[in-house]
């Protein structure tokens, strides 16, 4: 770890990507993440990297495809409507198994929505999003320190699994400033070679990066191969945080910015004599289903309150996790309206009244 630096979230994403070995960035301006392409346009020429402002998010994700298929570490960033445009490309990236990092600094939707923070793209990110049976690894950091560490992790996971990785941030994380320490810089020359990349058929057979399988059995086999990979992710890559999950009356489940507000709610509730715990998934895909269930089984919480900056998306995975063993309530604000600590505590009290 180096010295502490005060960084804005969006710029921290950009600098962390460069230090994690990303030398290729393609993007299209959209609020609230414009500091990332701006930062990249300054920094990439300094270090011999490539910054291109694409003509659209559609072009940006396909530039990512070309560069990722060339075997380099590559990133694009956007906000919610931009991700919708990228879904076609993301499906192809997943089908062809090209590693890349995609950052969604979420804003309120649907449609043009607004430019203020939201978490309403959870379904889109964690359930595939585009067409076909596929998943992206999805990481939902809640502090800027975690954000920069997650950027490094995202590039490693993308390479290890040959899979797109989505960092699901939001406008709060993108726009806020916090002190951070960057992990040690990655030496690109020491990264394992990508023998599957299209680099010219010199001294080897030609390589074709494709997702077309006209023979149905071959396509099914390709899909089964992808599913095996997703299973490996579920076995090895689930990450989460637990705070006071054993000795609490009620368990809050939240990720990203919603988890930050929830932590504050836990502290305020404690002063009022209410014992709350937090289960915070960091990997939203693969989701910590079993881990959450165990946390409930091993603790004394009589219920769960899911807190999201949406009108209820992750709650579906929470319900799948606990399989009805405790009641699951919900508190969410959307459209860029911030979560309110007192409202979280009020909802928690209501659930506790019902179950006690």
């Amino acid at each position: 770890m180096g010295k502490k630096l005060l960084f804005k979230g969006n710029e921290a994403i950009a600098e962390a990507a460069i230090r994690a070995g990303c030398r290729y960035y393609f993007g299209y301006p959209i609020t609230p993440q414009n500091e990332i392409p701006e930062y990249m346009s300054r920094r990439m020429p300094e270090i011999g990297g490539v910054f291109i402002q694409a003509e659209s998010e559609i072009a940006a994700i396909n530039m990512v495809f070309g560069a990722g298929g060339s075997g380099v570490r590559v990133m694009t960033t956007t906000s919610s409507p931009g991700i919708s445009l990228m879904q076609e490309g993301i499906s192809y990236l997943a089908g062809v198994e090209i590693p890349c990092v995609i950052v969604n600094v979420m804003r309120g939707g649907p449609g043009l929505g607004g430019i203020l923070p939201a978490q309403s793209d959870y379904f889109q990110a964690t359930k595939g999003g585009g067409h076909g049976d596929y998943y992206c690894i999805v990481l939902g950091p809640s502090t800027l320190q975690e954000l920069v560490e997650v950027v490094f992790l995202a590039f490693d996971l993308a390479d290890n699994y040959r899979n797109p990785v989505i960092i699901l941030a939001d406008g709060v994380i993108g726009q806020m400033m916090e002190p951070i320490e960057f992990p040690p810089e990655v030496d690109i020359s020491k990264l394992p070679p990508k023998k599957w990349a299209t680099t010219g058929a010199k001294g080897r057979k030609k390589i074709i990066l494709k997702s077309l399988f006209l023979d149905p059995e071959k396509l099914e086999n390709h899909n089964l191969h992808l599913q095996k990979k997703y299973k490996r992710m579920q076995e090895k890559e689930i990450r989460w945080e637990e705070i006071n999950t054993k000795d609490c009356d009620l368990l809050l489940v939240a990720y990203g910015t919603a988890a930050r507000v929830s932590k504050k709610a836990v502290a305020v509730a404690k002063e009022r004599g209410i014992s709350l715990g937090i289960f915070r998934p960091l990997t939203l895909y693969p989701f910590p289903y079993n881990q959450l269930k165990k946390a409930v089984e091993n603790g004394r919480a009589k219920g769960i309150l899911v807190v999201e900056m949406s009108l209820g998306q992750m709650i579906e995975d929470v319900k799948l996790s606990v399989e009805g063993i405790v009641p699951v309530g919900f508190y969410g604000r959307t459209g860029g309206v911030m979560l309110v600590v007192d409202e979280i505590i009020g909802k928690a009290e209501n659930i506790l009244k019902e179950v006690m």
Partner: protein, 249 residues
């Protein structure tokens, strides 16, 4: 005159059975691309991009690395490849639906950036793989499965002339429209395709060769009639000419 190679002498051309329909122009153009790659000795450093359409299977015929990308997005993916590997030769092979309809944004902006890539653009005035629907390049009054009364400009607009459209862009180094309707035209097309790669090797910027290509199956014509149609009808709307060329020193 340059010696004409037999198919089996072209290293970049795979010895496989074709899936293209009788009389189709794709096979000829594939061979010309392979021949150019051979003669320029760039097979081991060439990366092609397959489109969506009949020629998505181009990678079965050419012995070079390939990426297969979404419909119309080949110029964007080519940008990514070329920027990551500037010392490699990158080309896209795109049909008229791919390049001139769904991919108009990508082709215009790749050309306008002066991306140092080569585009082989097959214009056969029809969607081939999906069964003969109207393309942006379908001629006025031409009947297709989605213009059964003939293309009507009041409803469907006019045939899109890609070379004319791109010729105003400063990033474009070389633009030529050719056809493969006769031995003479094939030889011209051969020179144009090879030149397009030479422009890229000389780092001069964006190069595109538009090839008027026959699609007898979807034109509902015999092979002979279809090449005649290219010469007598299609090339009236799409004149064969060189639109732009930079000097290679």
């Amino acid at each position: 005159m340059e010696e004409i190679k037999k198919d089996k002498e072209i290293k970049t051309l795979e010895d496989v059975v074709t899936h293209y329909c009788p009389g189709c122009g794709h096979g000829i153009v594939h061979r010309l691309v392979a021949d150019a790659i051979d003669r320029l000795e760039i097979r081991e450093k060439t990366i092609g991009i397959a489109p969506i359409g009949c020629s998505v299977l181009i990678y079965n015929y050419l012995n070079v690395d390939f990426q297969e990308v979404p419909h119309g997005r080949a110029p964007a993916a080519a940008t990514g490849i070329k920027r990551a590997q500037p010392d490699k030769v990158v080309f896209t092979y795109q049909g008229d639906g791919d390049l001139a309809s769904i991919g108009t944004a990508e082709i215009v902006h790749a050309a306008n950036r002066g991306e140092n890539i080569t585009v082989i653009f097959i214009n056969n005035a029809v969607y081939g793989m999906t069964g003969g629907q109207m393309a942006p390049t379908t001629l006025l009054k031409q009947k297709t499965t989605t213009s059964p009364y003939g293309r009507n400009a009041n409803i469907a607009g006019f045939p899109l002339r890609v070379c004319e459209l791109l010729s105003s862009l400063d990033g474009v180094a070389y633009l030529e429209r050719v056809s493969v309707s006769s031995p003479k035209n094939v030889m011209k097309a051969k020179r144009a395709i090879r030149h397009a790669f030479e422009v890229q090797l000389a780092k001069k910027g964006f190069s595109l060769v538009e090839v008027l290509s026959q699609c007898p199956m979807n034109w509902r014509m015999g092979s002979i009639d279809s090449v005649r149609w290219v010469d007598e009808v299609m090339s009236k709307t799409f004149p064969l000419k060189k639109f732009k060329d930079v000097e290679i020193s």
